[in-house]
């Protein structure tokens, strides 16, 4: 082959590759995020809806049955009338997985915040973000809370969680002594659920982050909330611990809205990480029954 022809061929292949290579634009990200915010605030994930239905089927307490019935009616009504499930449409929390080979055009953080601005405006969602001292509302629910993780591949996965304040207020991080172990973890969680009572809108989802450092435990606890209720923990030991502690939590009798009953918790999920030999960090992230989250893959 002549050198001129070869150069031409190489150029053409490069051009084809560039055309095949996906470029994710800021506009695509903003549009997808706006859609996620609106959708997640109007429809409960199917596993959460099933969890509420199963709770109703198991519950004998008439007051608790009445409340669970109202929550199912509310979910149906929100879907029909395009209304938010709850007036607390949350701070906008994002778990973003960015493929190491993904190509972005524009500022990822700015694009997500723009999506929040659009979604919370267009969807008639409540803006609940304010300065911690002046309490001045930002007016568009930004800035979002964005957790970014690099992963293999070339995709961008964005998971949105509408995190309400009432349940977040009942969450805690504690640093246990290593000797307290699993019994100490169980005691702390049970004490927290009992003290929280009706405040965080049970039936709850509970995310536990065990190990890591102070901040890693908190992040794991929040991430644990995103696992679907019908998806078992992949680690058999953790699966057994989740089952044991869920049983104990539901034995407390807190019940829907704290007014008594069996349905205190729909699911308790654990994520763990290695920790310092001196510590046993534990984070308990409480989520209300309106566990609104949704994800998109770009």
């Amino acid at each position: 082959m002549l050198s001129g022809q070869r150069a031409c061929l190489v150029r053409e292949i490069r051009l084809q590759n560039a055309m095949l290579e996906k470029i994710i634009t800021a506009e695509e990200i903003s549009a997808a995020v706006a859609e996620l915010c609106v959708k997640a605030n109007r429809r409960l994930p199917p596993d959460v809806l099933r969890g509420l239905e199963e709770s109703l089927a198991r519950e004998h307490n008439p007051g608790a049955r009445e409340i669970l019935g109202q929550l199912l009616q509310n979910a149906a009504l929100a879907g029909e009338k395009d209304l938010p499930l709850c007036q607390d449409t949350g701070l906008a929390v994002f778990f973003v997985e960015l493929g190491q080979e993904a190509r972005l055009r524009g500022d990822l953080y700015a694009a997500i915040n723009e999506g929040v601005r659009r979604g919370y405006g267009r969807g008639f969602l409540r803006k609940s973000s304010c300065d911690p001292f002046t309490r001045e509302n930002s007016g568009d629910n930004t800035p979002a809370i964005i957790h970014l993780e690099l992963v293999p591949g070339s995709n961008l996965r964005i998971c949105f969680l509408a995190k309400g304040g009432g349940s977040e207020n009942m969450s805690r991080v504690t640093m246990l002594a290593p000797a307290q172990g699993w019994p100490g973890i169980k005691d702390f969680v049970l004490g927290r659920v009992r003290a929280a009572g009706g405040n965080p809108c049970p039936p709850l989802l509970i995310g536990l982050g065990i190990g890591g450092t102070f901040e890693r435990a908190a992040l794991l606890a929040k991430k644990a909330l995103l696992r679907p209720l019908d998806e078992p923990n992949p680690e058999p030991d953790l699966r057994e611990k989740e089952r044991e502690l869920l049983e104990l939590v539901n034995g407390l009798g807190v019940g829907p809205m704290g007014l008594g009953g069996r349905a205190t918790c729909l699911g308790l999920h654990i994520l763990k990480a290695n920790c310092h030999i001196a510590s046993l960090p534990l984070a308990v992230n409480i989520q209300c029954h309106s566990a609104r989250h949704a994800a998109v893959l770009l």
């Binding site: 209304l83 008639f124 409540r126 405040n199 019940g255």
Partner: protein, 188 residues
């Protein structure tokens, strides 16, 4: 569940007094009439006004206050989603409002001892509404308008006209406490 008792807000005069005295913790209620939303920021402002001896933006005597920050009203609706927020954050303000004549508050979750004492002293009620049922509860709101503090956005005081708003008496004026029946820790 007991048959719901129909009541009308505001709870003024002898009729209002009679309702307050007759209801008991655990009773189901359907409330119609006019109520006012106020949550954290609006309570701070109300508190400052009353402390300064200035009038509140609405008649407090007989008033029913709803701890709620609704979502914006979409076109063609009086209000968006409008469920209760957690009440304990307003505990510090409740006794002064009771002293100025507020006859009932609506929220979710238990109240502290200072509020339970104040309810008895000032003859008032605390109702629970179902948290996270904001779309369902909004269906009972017929009219809504921002009455005061529009700069607070979702935390502004809204005047709501409601019909058959479903409530549960949590604390009555006789010291009855629905949460107390479950002997759970009442404060977070």
């Amino acid at each position: 569940m007991s048959r719901p008792v129909k009541i009308t807000a505001p709870l003024q005069g002898s009729a209002g007094e009679q309702i307050v005295e007759s209801l008991r913790a655990g009773d189901s209620v359907l409330l119609s009439g006019v109520i006012y939303t106020a949550r954290d920021a609006a309570h701070q402002r109300l508190f400052r006004l009353l402390r300064a001896g200035e009038p509140a933006p609405f008649e407090l005597r007989g008033a029913v206050i709803y701890y709620c920050g609704p979502t914006p009203a979409p076109p063609g609706r009086p209000i968006g989603s409008a469920g209760p927020t957690t009440s304990y954050r307003m505990d510090a303000f409740a006794p002064l409002l009771h002293a100025h004549g507020v006859k009932a508050t609506i929220g979710k979750g238990p109240r502290g001892q200072e509020v339970r004492d104040s309810l008895r002293e000032h003859r008032a009620l605390y109702f629970g509404a179902t948290g996270g049922a904001g779309a369902l509860l909004a269906a009972c709101v017929q009219e809504a308008r921002v009455l005061a503090f529009p700069d607070l956005g979702p935390e502004a005081i809204h005047e709501l006209k409601v019909e058959d708003f479903p409530l549960l008496v949590i604390n009555d004026a006789q010291g009855g406490d629905l949460f107390g029946l479950f002997e759970l820790g009442s404060r977070p």
